[in-house]
Symmetry: C2
Subunit: 334 residues, 2 copies
């Protein structure tokens, strides 16, 4: 039993996508894991430039590229017809194909056949490993930090990635652990926790951060929100299986309600801290909150600084915006 594992280096497929916001998976990989990227495949000169060497499949195969990673998300989430010939070519050349889109790669018989012939793998990062264990609750060695949130889509992944970077800069051994599809594509491994069968949520989370050196930090990407009417169960299982020693609450000011659930007011940061402590205590009695991460993307520098000072004072915890000054203040707590 193991997590998904991607094979580097990567050829990032951009296609003819000319909007950066639709190529954010590719951009994320370049931002956070540039050393794993061999090049980009663009089918139009107007396409987004991720700052990598332009490369076609033949050249990539020649250079020993391991995987073609689809770095853009077309509207609707399906694979457009004009992409398939390129994916066929890559599979025939033995490159693994990695996708986070709705269309399952393996549902295309032609692609499947090319992959079987060359030994290439078709990896849908939405598909969890086939065999997963039930959570045991057994205490694992090493240290763990989990990012949790007042809601979805407000910075849990980037907070975890920045914490990994800042922990390493401070001399710690640390690894980002991906629990969602984009995170897996950035990290090259992980388990899409929201896609596993209910009985195995905490077991999958246990696999995600295995035993490690006593002073090694796993920084685990959180999912959902413990007060989320749709996804709280996922957050609960991930929390139990992660058995975090430390957690960071991620929040975006200005949200009044759970996004997409207008009947549900956003929980207060303190409520998320309290509930996370209560639930997390079951598998790690030493769990503690070590900081707050604020997504201040809507604010200017001065307002964002003021807001973070206020929140820090209010909770007696370091408060950071990871993309605006890093997470060193939190790392200092560890």
């Amino acid at each position: 039993m193991q997590t998904l594992e991607l094979r580097p280096p990567y050829l990032i497929f951009v296609g003819d996508e000319n909007r950066l916001s639709y190529a954010k998976t590719g951009k994320g990989i370049v931002d956070w894991r540039r050393s794993l990227c061999a090049g980009q495949l663009r089918t139009s000169t107007q396409a987004v430039d991720l700052g990598l060497v332009d490369m076609d499949v033949t050249e990539a195969a020649h250079q020993g590229v391991g995987s073609l990673v689809i770095g853009t998300a077309p509207v609707g989430g399906d694979i457009p017809a004009q992409w398939w010939p390129i994916l066929y070519q890559a599979a025939r050349a033995g490159l693994d194909i990695v996708s986070g889109l709705h269309t399952r790669l393996g549902d295309n018989a032609e692609l499947r056949q090319f992959a079987e012939q060359s030994g290439a793998r078709l990896i849908d990062v939405r598909n969890p490993p086939e065999t997963l264990p039930v959570g045991t609750g057994r205490k694992r060695s090493g240290l763990r930090l989990l990012t949790v949130g007042t809601d979805c889509a407000l910075g849990k992944k980037y907070t975890a990635l920045q914490l990994e970077k800042d922990l390493r800069a401070a001399g710690f051994a640390a690894d980002f652990r991906a629990s969602g599809q984009t995170g897996i594509m950035l990290a090259g491994q992980g388990i899409p926790i929201d896609c596993v069968v209910a009985d195995f949520i905490s077991g999958a989370a246990e696999l995600l951060s295995p035993d490690n050196d006593p002073r090694h930090w796993d920084v685990i990407e959180g999912q959902g929100g413990i007060f989320h009417p749709g996804y709280a169960a996922v957050s609960h299982g991930l929390l139990l299986g992660s058995q975090p020693d430390a957690f960071v609450v991620c929040h975006q000011p200005g949200r009044s309600h759970i996004e997409g659930w207008p009947g549900f007011p956003l929980p207060r940061i303190q409520e998320v801290i309290d509930r996370t402590l209560q639930i997390g205590h079951l598998t790690n009695p030493n769990i503690r909150c070590v900081g707050i991460s604020i997504n201040t993307s809507g604010l200017d520098d001065a307002s964002s600084r003021l807001l973070m000072e206020e929140i820090a004072d209010q909770h007696g915890l370091p408060c950071v915006d990871p993309l605006r000054g890093g997470t060193a203040a939190i790392v200092a707590q560890l």
Copy 2:
């Protein structure tokens, strides 16, 4: 989007099983839903007698039986070789086949072919419906009661079934709602909540007890335990999606630890009440605990009565053993 639905009346397959404890699914169906049972199919005179008319497949088809329901659980959970000819015969005769065993019926190509030809359905009650929604948290009409527990396998299903019976006896409209495979076979419908994909746990739970008359009670079978290191996430999602007005805590005295998880002491009843209130509040602010159900199967009448009085006093709530005097004291609270 809907729950699994079985087609009555049933022919209960007993085979040559001569131990009642291995035929408990069949016995449960007869105990709780006798009116849905047309007969039993025994392949040996030594086999368990469930008190139904003995019937072979030909006779069952002639009498308009809807489903052959496998009522025994062989050691290992796989279908023994000598059962297949009978299942083939049933599928050819147009009877749906219903199984809760590990072996997937549809993995047998011959059986699949017979079923396709006759229009019979092969129903593995471990397989949830294919399309499930994400939980919305929208308040539904009607009243709901959920059974929760200090652990697994201590009476949540039977408590719910007895509550349905006693509610009906007291003049309420009430329906048992099954969330596990045995419950589904007893109830003829439901969703195996522990088998759904993580993102859809609370959404599946919402499907399980749809809008209903304002005074109608759905009595929902609980799963797992909110302090269970393996299954708490399932319990959390089921609680949110059920949005219960009332819940009953099920407990078995004498257990010191979560069964199978020796490192985890059994939570106290009061802890389960408090945590269930906290979490359940999100989707139903009026949630309340209406009673405690004790599995006193290990005790004599006098000790069991004493224990239940003690627990009732301690918590200020009615305390019952559903299989030893019913749940009327709880129904009186509703």
